[in-house]
Amino acid sequence: MSAATGTTPITHLEAVMGTVVGFTSPDPLPADGIAEAVRRLHEADRVFTTWDPTSPMSRLRAGQVTLDQLDAADAALIATVLDRCEVARGMTGGSFDPWSMPGGVDPTGLVKGWAASRARHALTDAGAANVMVNAGGDIAVSGRPAGGPWRVGIRHPAQPDAYAAVIEVTGAVATSGDYERPGQLIDPATGRTARVAASATVTGPDLDLVDALATGLAVGGAPVLAAIDRLAGYDGYLITDDGRHLATPGMRFVAP
Protein backbone atom coordinates (compact mmCIF):
# COMPACT_ATOMS: atom_id res chain seq x y z
CA MET A 1 0.00 0.00 0.00
CA SER A 2 2.40 2.65 -1.11
CA ALA A 3 1.59 6.05 0.12
CA ALA A 4 0.86 8.68 -2.45
CA THR A 5 0.27 12.36 -2.41
CA GLY A 6 -3.10 13.23 -0.92
CA THR A 7 -3.92 9.64 -0.07
CA THR A 8 -6.76 9.03 2.35
CA PRO A 9 -5.16 7.66 5.53
CA ILE A 10 -5.43 4.01 6.44
CA THR A 11 -7.47 3.88 9.61
CA HIS A 12 -6.91 0.30 10.66
CA LEU A 13 -4.52 -2.50 9.72
CA GLU A 14 -5.19 -6.13 10.61
CA ALA A 15 -2.81 -9.03 10.01
CA VAL A 16 -5.04 -11.94 9.01
CA MET A 17 -5.46 -14.56 6.27
CA GLY A 18 -1.77 -14.51 5.47
CA THR A 19 -1.87 -10.87 4.47
CA VAL A 20 -2.53 -7.44 5.91
CA VAL A 21 -6.03 -6.03 5.58
CA GLY A 22 -6.37 -2.25 5.63
CA PHE A 23 -9.48 -0.16 6.29
CA THR A 24 -9.29 3.29 4.71
CA SER A 25 -11.77 6.10 5.15
CA PRO A 26 -11.87 9.89 4.91
CA ASP A 27 -14.08 9.81 8.02
CA PRO A 28 -13.55 8.39 11.52
CA LEU A 29 -14.61 4.74 11.44
CA PRO A 30 -17.05 3.50 14.10
CA ALA A 31 -15.29 1.31 16.69
CA ASP A 32 -18.06 -1.29 16.71
CA GLY A 33 -17.84 -1.53 12.91
CA ILE A 34 -14.09 -2.09 13.06
CA ALA A 35 -14.53 -4.73 15.76
CA GLU A 36 -17.15 -6.64 13.75
CA ALA A 37 -15.16 -6.37 10.53
CA VAL A 38 -12.05 -7.71 12.26
CA ARG A 39 -14.07 -10.51 13.84
CA ARG A 40 -15.38 -11.58 10.42
CA LEU A 41 -11.89 -11.60 8.91
CA HIS A 42 -10.50 -13.82 11.65
CA GLU A 43 -13.54 -16.05 11.49
CA ALA A 44 -12.98 -16.58 7.76
CA ASP A 45 -9.33 -17.32 8.43
CA ARG A 46 -10.16 -19.88 11.12
CA VAL A 47 -12.86 -21.67 9.09
CA PHE A 48 -11.27 -21.66 5.64
CA THR A 49 -7.51 -21.78 6.03
CA THR A 50 -6.01 -24.70 4.17
CA TRP A 51 -2.65 -24.17 5.86
CA ASP A 52 -4.03 -25.52 9.11
CA PRO A 53 -4.98 -29.22 8.70
CA THR A 54 -7.38 -28.94 11.63
CA SER A 55 -9.45 -26.08 10.20
CA PRO A 56 -13.07 -26.96 9.35
CA MET A 57 -12.37 -26.54 5.62
CA SER A 58 -9.26 -28.72 5.79
CA ARG A 59 -11.10 -31.47 7.64
CA LEU A 60 -13.91 -31.31 5.11
CA ARG A 61 -11.46 -31.48 2.21
CA ALA A 62 -9.69 -34.45 3.74
CA GLY A 63 -12.99 -36.27 4.09
CA GLN A 64 -12.61 -36.46 7.87
CA VAL A 65 -16.00 -34.83 8.36
CA THR A 66 -19.11 -34.04 6.38
CA LEU A 67 -20.75 -30.63 6.41
CA ASP A 68 -23.40 -31.96 8.84
CA GLN A 69 -20.75 -32.98 11.36
CA LEU A 70 -19.19 -29.52 11.58
CA ASP A 71 -20.26 -26.77 13.92
CA ALA A 72 -23.50 -25.43 12.42
CA ALA A 73 -22.25 -21.84 12.11
CA ASP A 74 -19.02 -22.94 10.42
CA ALA A 75 -20.96 -25.26 8.11
CA ALA A 76 -23.27 -22.41 7.12
CA LEU A 77 -20.29 -20.24 6.17
CA ILE A 78 -18.76 -23.06 4.13
CA ALA A 79 -22.06 -23.74 2.38
CA THR A 80 -22.39 -20.06 1.51
CA VAL A 81 -18.86 -19.89 0.11
CA LEU A 82 -19.28 -23.08 -1.92
CA ASP A 83 -22.50 -21.66 -3.37
CA ARG A 84 -20.60 -18.57 -4.44
CA CYS A 85 -17.85 -20.77 -5.88
CA GLU A 86 -20.44 -22.53 -7.99
CA VAL A 87 -21.68 -19.19 -9.31
CA ALA A 88 -18.11 -18.16 -10.09
CA ARG A 89 -17.40 -21.47 -11.81
CA GLY A 90 -20.34 -20.87 -14.10
CA MET A 91 -19.36 -17.27 -14.78
CA THR A 92 -15.84 -18.26 -15.84
CA GLY A 93 -16.86 -21.26 -17.90
CA GLY A 94 -14.86 -23.48 -15.56
CA SER A 95 -11.63 -21.49 -15.50
CA PHE A 96 -12.29 -20.93 -11.81
CA ASP A 97 -13.08 -24.37 -10.40
CA PRO A 98 -12.41 -25.08 -6.71
CA TRP A 99 -13.58 -28.65 -7.22
CA SER A 100 -10.69 -29.46 -9.54
CA MET A 101 -7.97 -28.54 -7.06
CA PRO A 102 -5.55 -31.24 -5.96
CA GLY A 103 -6.47 -32.45 -2.48
CA GLY A 104 -10.17 -31.75 -2.73
CA VAL A 105 -12.43 -28.74 -3.07
CA ASP A 106 -10.51 -25.56 -2.28
CA PRO A 107 -12.37 -22.22 -2.26
CA THR A 108 -9.22 -20.24 -1.40
CA GLY A 109 -9.44 -18.25 -4.64
CA LEU A 110 -12.72 -16.74 -3.50
CA VAL A 111 -12.46 -16.68 0.29
CA LYS A 112 -10.22 -13.66 0.72
CA GLY A 113 -12.49 -11.51 -1.42
CA TRP A 114 -15.58 -12.90 0.27
CA ALA A 115 -14.17 -12.16 3.72
CA ALA A 116 -13.07 -8.65 2.77
CA SER A 117 -16.52 -8.01 1.32
CA ARG A 118 -18.15 -9.11 4.59
CA ALA A 119 -15.80 -6.84 6.50
CA ARG A 120 -16.76 -3.93 4.26
CA HIS A 121 -20.46 -4.65 4.92
CA ALA A 122 -19.81 -4.72 8.67
CA LEU A 123 -18.28 -1.25 8.47
CA THR A 124 -21.04 0.08 6.25
CA ASP A 125 -23.75 -1.41 8.48
CA ALA A 126 -22.15 0.35 11.45
CA GLY A 127 -22.49 3.68 9.67
CA ALA A 128 -19.27 4.05 7.67
CA ALA A 129 -20.51 5.57 4.42
CA ASN A 130 -17.12 5.94 2.78
CA VAL A 131 -14.71 3.08 3.28
CA MET A 132 -12.20 0.92 1.43
CA VAL A 133 -11.23 -2.54 2.66
CA ASN A 134 -8.02 -3.74 1.03
CA ALA A 135 -7.09 -7.36 1.66
CA GLY A 136 -3.71 -7.66 0.01
CA GLY A 137 -4.96 -6.20 -3.27
CA ASP A 138 -8.51 -7.57 -3.08
CA ILE A 139 -10.42 -4.34 -2.55
CA ALA A 140 -14.05 -3.60 -1.64
CA VAL A 141 -15.27 -0.02 -1.37
CA SER A 142 -18.37 1.99 -0.60
CA GLY A 143 -18.94 5.69 -1.00
CA ARG A 144 -15.89 7.70 -1.95
CA PRO A 145 -12.89 9.47 -0.48
CA ALA A 146 -12.61 13.26 -0.52
CA GLY A 147 -12.17 14.53 -4.04
CA GLY A 148 -13.73 11.85 -6.23
CA PRO A 149 -14.08 8.11 -6.72
CA TRP A 150 -11.73 5.59 -5.15
CA ARG A 151 -8.60 5.26 -7.28
CA VAL A 152 -6.65 2.02 -7.40
CA GLY A 153 -3.24 1.46 -8.95
CA ILE A 154 -2.83 -1.81 -10.84
CA ARG A 155 0.65 -3.02 -10.08
CA HIS A 156 2.89 -3.38 -13.10
CA PRO A 157 3.56 -7.12 -13.46
CA ALA A 158 7.16 -6.56 -14.47
CA GLN A 159 7.97 -3.72 -12.08
CA PRO A 160 6.88 -4.18 -8.48
CA ASP A 161 7.47 -0.51 -7.73
CA ALA A 162 5.34 0.82 -10.59
CA TYR A 163 1.79 0.66 -11.86
CA ALA A 164 0.51 -0.38 -15.27
CA ALA A 165 -2.65 1.68 -14.91
CA VAL A 166 -4.89 3.54 -12.49
CA ILE A 167 -8.60 2.74 -12.40
CA GLU A 168 -11.64 4.13 -10.61
CA VAL A 169 -13.58 1.67 -8.49
CA THR A 170 -17.13 1.91 -7.14
CA GLY A 171 -17.66 -1.68 -5.93
CA ALA A 172 -14.75 -4.06 -5.88
CA VAL A 173 -11.52 -4.91 -7.66
CA ALA A 174 -9.15 -7.87 -7.50
CA THR A 175 -6.01 -8.69 -9.42
CA SER A 176 -4.64 -12.17 -9.89
CA GLY A 177 -1.35 -13.46 -11.20
CA ASP A 178 1.05 -16.30 -10.72
CA TYR A 179 3.69 -14.17 -9.14
CA GLU A 180 3.09 -13.19 -5.55
CA ARG A 181 3.17 -16.88 -4.74
CA PRO A 182 4.37 -18.68 -7.87
CA GLY A 183 2.46 -21.85 -8.54
CA GLN A 184 -0.73 -20.75 -6.82
CA LEU A 185 -2.76 -20.83 -10.02
CA ILE A 186 -3.93 -24.22 -11.19
CA ASP A 187 -5.59 -24.71 -14.55
CA PRO A 188 -8.68 -26.88 -13.99
CA ALA A 189 -8.38 -28.23 -17.53
CA THR A 190 -4.97 -29.76 -16.93
CA GLY A 191 -4.49 -29.78 -13.15
CA ARG A 192 -1.12 -28.17 -13.72
CA THR A 193 0.21 -24.76 -12.87
CA ALA A 194 -1.33 -22.34 -15.30
CA ARG A 195 0.42 -19.44 -16.95
CA VAL A 196 -1.27 -17.15 -19.37
CA ALA A 197 -1.62 -13.78 -17.74
CA ALA A 198 1.00 -11.60 -16.19
CA SER A 199 -1.83 -9.77 -14.46
CA ALA A 200 -5.61 -10.21 -14.49
CA THR A 201 -7.81 -7.52 -12.95
CA VAL A 202 -11.58 -7.66 -12.56
CA THR A 203 -13.98 -4.99 -11.26
CA GLY A 204 -17.60 -5.48 -10.27
CA PRO A 205 -20.14 -5.17 -7.49
CA ASP A 206 -19.19 -8.20 -5.33
CA LEU A 207 -15.63 -8.77 -4.23
CA ASP A 208 -16.00 -12.52 -3.77
CA LEU A 209 -17.05 -13.05 -7.39
CA VAL A 210 -14.61 -10.40 -8.60
CA ASP A 211 -11.82 -12.27 -6.81
CA ALA A 212 -12.83 -15.57 -8.38
CA LEU A 213 -13.26 -14.00 -11.82
CA ALA A 214 -9.75 -12.54 -11.58
CA THR A 215 -8.41 -16.00 -10.82
CA GLY A 216 -10.35 -17.41 -13.76
CA LEU A 217 -9.16 -14.64 -16.04
CA ALA A 218 -5.54 -15.27 -15.06
CA VAL A 219 -5.92 -18.95 -15.89
CA GLY A 220 -8.21 -18.70 -18.93
CA GLY A 221 -6.92 -15.53 -20.55
CA ALA A 222 -8.65 -13.66 -23.32
CA PRO A 223 -11.60 -16.04 -23.78
CA VAL A 224 -12.54 -15.37 -20.15
CA LEU A 225 -12.21 -11.66 -20.83
CA ALA A 226 -14.85 -12.06 -23.53
CA ALA A 227 -17.05 -13.89 -21.02
CA ILE A 228 -16.62 -11.11 -18.45
CA ASP A 229 -17.55 -8.57 -21.12
CA ARG A 230 -20.95 -10.23 -21.32
CA LEU A 231 -21.57 -9.95 -17.54
CA ALA A 232 -23.44 -6.80 -16.61
CA GLY A 233 -21.52 -4.75 -14.07
CA TYR A 234 -18.22 -6.64 -14.41
CA ASP A 235 -15.14 -5.58 -16.35
CA GLY A 236 -11.73 -7.09 -16.92
CA TYR A 237 -8.18 -5.93 -17.63
CA LEU A 238 -5.67 -8.52 -18.77
CA ILE A 239 -1.93 -8.10 -19.23
CA THR A 240 -0.79 -11.15 -21.15
CA ASP A 241 2.40 -13.11 -20.64
CA ASP A 242 3.85 -11.39 -23.69
CA GLY A 243 3.01 -7.87 -22.62
CA ARG A 244 -0.26 -7.12 -24.39
CA HIS A 245 -2.87 -5.08 -22.55
CA LEU A 246 -6.48 -6.12 -23.12
CA ALA A 247 -9.55 -4.67 -21.43
CA THR A 248 -13.31 -4.69 -21.68
CA PRO A 249 -14.75 -1.31 -22.73
CA GLY A 250 -16.23 -0.54 -19.30
CA MET A 251 -12.93 -0.69 -17.38
CA ARG A 252 -12.50 2.82 -16.00
CA PHE A 253 -8.90 3.77 -16.67
CA VAL A 254 -8.01 7.25 -15.49
CA ALA A 255 -4.97 9.42 -15.98
CA PRO A 256 -2.44 8.89 -13.21
Binding site: S2, A4, T5, G6, T7, T24, M132, N134, D138, I139, W150, R151, V152, G153, I154, R155, H156, P157, A158, Q159, P160, D161, A162, Y163, A164, A165, V166, V173, T175, S176, G177, D178, Y179, E180, P182, D187, A189, R195, V196, A198, S199, T201, A218, V219, G220, G221, A222, P223, L225, A226, T240, D241, D242, G243, R244, H245, L246, T248, F253, P256
Partner: protein, 164 residues
Amino acid sequence: MQRYQLVLGGTVAGIAGVLAFPTHSTKLVIPSARASATTSTSPTTSAAPASKSSAASSSSTKSTTTTAPASTTRSATSADEQFRYGDVEVKVTVTGSKITGVTIAALNETDGRSAEIDNYAVPQLEQQVISAGSVNINGVSGATFTSQAFVDAVANALQKLGIS
Protein backbone atom coordinates in the same frame (compact mmCIF):
# COMPACT_ATOMS: atom_id res chain seq x y z
CA MET B 1 -11.38 -24.29 -23.12
CA GLN B 2 -10.98 -22.24 -26.21
CA ARG B 3 -7.58 -21.13 -27.26
CA TYR B 4 -6.45 -18.21 -29.27
CA GLN B 5 -3.64 -16.91 -31.37
CA LEU B 6 -1.83 -13.67 -31.10
CA VAL B 7 -0.57 -11.91 -34.16
CA LEU B 8 3.14 -12.57 -33.92
CA GLY B 9 4.37 -9.43 -35.63
CA GLY B 10 2.24 -7.15 -33.52
CA THR B 11 3.10 -9.11 -30.44
CA VAL B 12 6.84 -8.95 -30.73
CA ALA B 13 6.84 -5.33 -31.85
CA GLY B 14 4.63 -4.53 -28.91
CA ILE B 15 7.05 -5.85 -26.36
CA ALA B 16 8.92 -2.88 -25.09
CA GLY B 17 9.47 -2.11 -21.51
CA VAL B 18 11.46 -3.01 -18.50
CA LEU B 19 11.35 -6.32 -16.71
CA ALA B 20 12.43 -6.85 -13.19
CA PHE B 21 14.09 -10.22 -12.88
CA PRO B 22 12.91 -11.43 -9.50
CA THR B 23 15.72 -13.83 -8.73
CA HIS B 24 18.29 -11.11 -9.27
CA SER B 25 17.96 -7.44 -8.62
CA THR B 26 19.10 -6.63 -12.15
CA LYS B 27 16.59 -4.87 -14.33
CA LEU B 28 16.30 -6.31 -17.79
CA VAL B 29 15.61 -3.88 -20.56
CA ILE B 30 13.67 -5.43 -23.39
CA PRO B 31 14.34 -3.57 -26.58
CA SER B 32 11.74 -3.75 -29.31
CA ALA B 33 12.19 -6.51 -31.86
CA ARG B 34 13.42 -4.12 -34.50
CA ALA B 35 15.94 -2.49 -32.23
CA SER B 36 17.29 -5.80 -31.05
CA ALA B 37 17.65 -7.05 -34.60
CA THR B 38 20.19 -4.32 -35.24
CA THR B 39 21.99 -4.37 -31.91
CA SER B 40 22.63 -8.02 -31.26
CA THR B 41 22.61 -9.92 -34.50
CA SER B 42 24.59 -13.03 -34.02
CA PRO B 43 23.10 -15.90 -35.99
CA THR B 44 20.59 -17.22 -33.52
CA THR B 45 20.88 -20.72 -34.89
CA SER B 46 24.32 -21.35 -33.43
CA ALA B 47 24.61 -22.54 -29.90
CA ALA B 48 25.93 -19.58 -28.03
CA PRO B 49 28.54 -20.96 -25.61
CA ALA B 50 30.69 -22.17 -28.50
CA SER B 51 30.24 -19.05 -30.56
CA LYS B 52 32.97 -16.76 -29.33
CA SER B 53 33.78 -15.75 -32.89
CA SER B 54 30.24 -15.04 -33.95
CA ALA B 55 29.82 -13.22 -30.71
CA ALA B 56 32.71 -10.98 -31.60
CA SER B 57 31.03 -10.15 -34.89
CA SER B 58 27.84 -9.33 -33.09
CA SER B 59 29.59 -6.93 -30.79
CA SER B 60 31.25 -5.28 -33.76
CA THR B 61 27.81 -4.79 -35.28
CA LYS B 62 26.99 -2.94 -32.14
CA SER B 63 30.26 -1.01 -32.58
CA THR B 64 30.98 -0.78 -28.90
CA THR B 65 34.04 -2.28 -27.26
CA THR B 66 35.13 -5.27 -29.31
CA THR B 67 38.33 -6.64 -27.85
CA ALA B 68 38.23 -6.75 -24.07
CA PRO B 69 37.02 -10.24 -23.09
CA ALA B 70 35.18 -8.85 -20.09
CA SER B 71 32.94 -6.82 -22.36
CA THR B 72 32.44 -9.34 -25.14
CA THR B 73 28.86 -9.35 -26.28
CA ARG B 74 27.31 -12.76 -26.63
CA SER B 75 23.79 -14.01 -26.94
CA ALA B 76 21.93 -17.25 -26.45
CA THR B 77 18.43 -18.40 -27.17
CA SER B 78 16.63 -20.43 -24.57
CA ALA B 79 14.94 -23.74 -25.10
CA ASP B 80 11.20 -23.50 -25.58
CA GLU B 81 9.42 -22.80 -22.33
CA GLN B 82 5.84 -23.97 -22.33
CA PHE B 83 3.07 -21.71 -21.20
CA ARG B 84 -0.69 -21.98 -21.30
CA TYR B 85 -1.18 -21.13 -24.95
CA GLY B 86 2.04 -22.26 -26.55
CA ASP B 87 5.72 -21.83 -25.99
CA VAL B 88 8.18 -19.01 -25.83
CA GLU B 89 11.87 -18.73 -26.66
CA VAL B 90 13.86 -15.88 -25.25
CA LYS B 91 17.13 -14.53 -26.61
CA VAL B 92 19.42 -13.02 -24.02
CA THR B 93 22.39 -10.82 -24.91
CA VAL B 94 25.13 -10.24 -22.39
CA THR B 95 28.17 -8.02 -22.42
CA GLY B 96 30.74 -9.55 -20.13
CA SER B 97 28.49 -10.91 -17.43
CA LYS B 98 25.95 -8.09 -17.64
CA ILE B 99 22.65 -8.59 -19.39
CA THR B 100 22.29 -6.01 -22.10
CA GLY B 101 19.25 -7.26 -23.95
CA VAL B 102 16.39 -9.71 -23.78
CA THR B 103 14.15 -10.33 -26.75
CA ILE B 104 11.46 -12.83 -27.61
CA ALA B 105 13.10 -15.05 -30.21
CA ALA B 106 10.00 -17.10 -30.90
CA LEU B 107 6.48 -17.14 -29.64
CA ASN B 108 4.24 -19.93 -30.76
CA GLU B 109 0.60 -19.73 -29.93
CA THR B 110 -1.86 -22.44 -30.66
CA ASP B 111 -5.41 -22.19 -32.03
CA GLY B 112 -6.59 -18.87 -33.20
CA ARG B 113 -8.98 -16.15 -32.19
CA SER B 114 -6.79 -13.16 -32.83
CA ALA B 115 -9.55 -10.96 -34.18
CA GLU B 116 -11.56 -11.15 -30.99
CA ILE B 117 -8.50 -10.47 -28.87
CA ASP B 118 -7.67 -7.40 -30.89
CA ASN B 119 -11.08 -5.97 -30.08
CA TYR B 120 -9.94 -5.69 -26.47
CA ALA B 121 -6.46 -4.34 -27.11
CA VAL B 122 -5.50 -1.17 -25.28
CA PRO B 123 -2.15 -0.51 -26.96
CA GLN B 124 -1.61 2.86 -25.28
CA LEU B 125 -1.29 1.08 -21.94
CA GLU B 126 1.63 -0.95 -23.26
CA GLN B 127 3.74 2.19 -23.32
CA GLN B 128 2.68 3.23 -19.85
CA VAL B 129 4.68 2.64 -16.69
CA ILE B 130 3.54 4.79 -13.79
CA SER B 131 6.12 5.15 -11.07
CA ALA B 132 4.88 4.85 -7.51
CA GLY B 133 4.96 8.13 -5.67
CA SER B 134 3.99 10.13 -8.72
CA VAL B 135 0.38 9.11 -8.54
CA ASN B 136 -2.63 9.87 -6.38
CA ILE B 137 -4.26 6.59 -5.46
CA ASN B 138 -6.08 5.07 -2.50
CA GLY B 139 -4.92 1.49 -2.85
CA VAL B 140 -2.95 -0.99 -4.92
CA SER B 141 -4.14 -4.18 -6.57
CA GLY B 142 -1.83 -6.47 -8.39
CA ALA B 143 0.53 -9.31 -8.89
CA THR B 144 4.19 -8.60 -8.42
CA PHE B 145 6.52 -10.76 -10.36
CA THR B 146 7.40 -11.29 -13.96
CA SER B 147 5.89 -14.17 -15.84
CA GLN B 148 7.49 -17.36 -14.61
CA ALA B 149 7.75 -18.74 -18.15
CA PHE B 150 9.74 -15.70 -19.13
CA VAL B 151 11.96 -15.98 -16.08
CA ASP B 152 12.59 -19.66 -16.78
CA ALA B 153 13.51 -18.86 -20.37
CA VAL B 154 15.92 -16.14 -19.34
CA ALA B 155 17.54 -18.43 -16.79
CA ASN B 156 17.88 -21.12 -19.44
CA ALA B 157 19.54 -18.72 -21.88
CA LEU B 158 21.92 -17.48 -19.20
CA GLN B 159 22.85 -21.05 -18.39
CA LYS B 160 23.78 -21.59 -22.04
CA LEU B 161 26.05 -18.59 -21.78
CA GLY B 162 27.69 -20.04 -18.72
CA ILE B 163 26.18 -17.43 -16.46
CA SER B 164 23.76 -18.71 -13.92
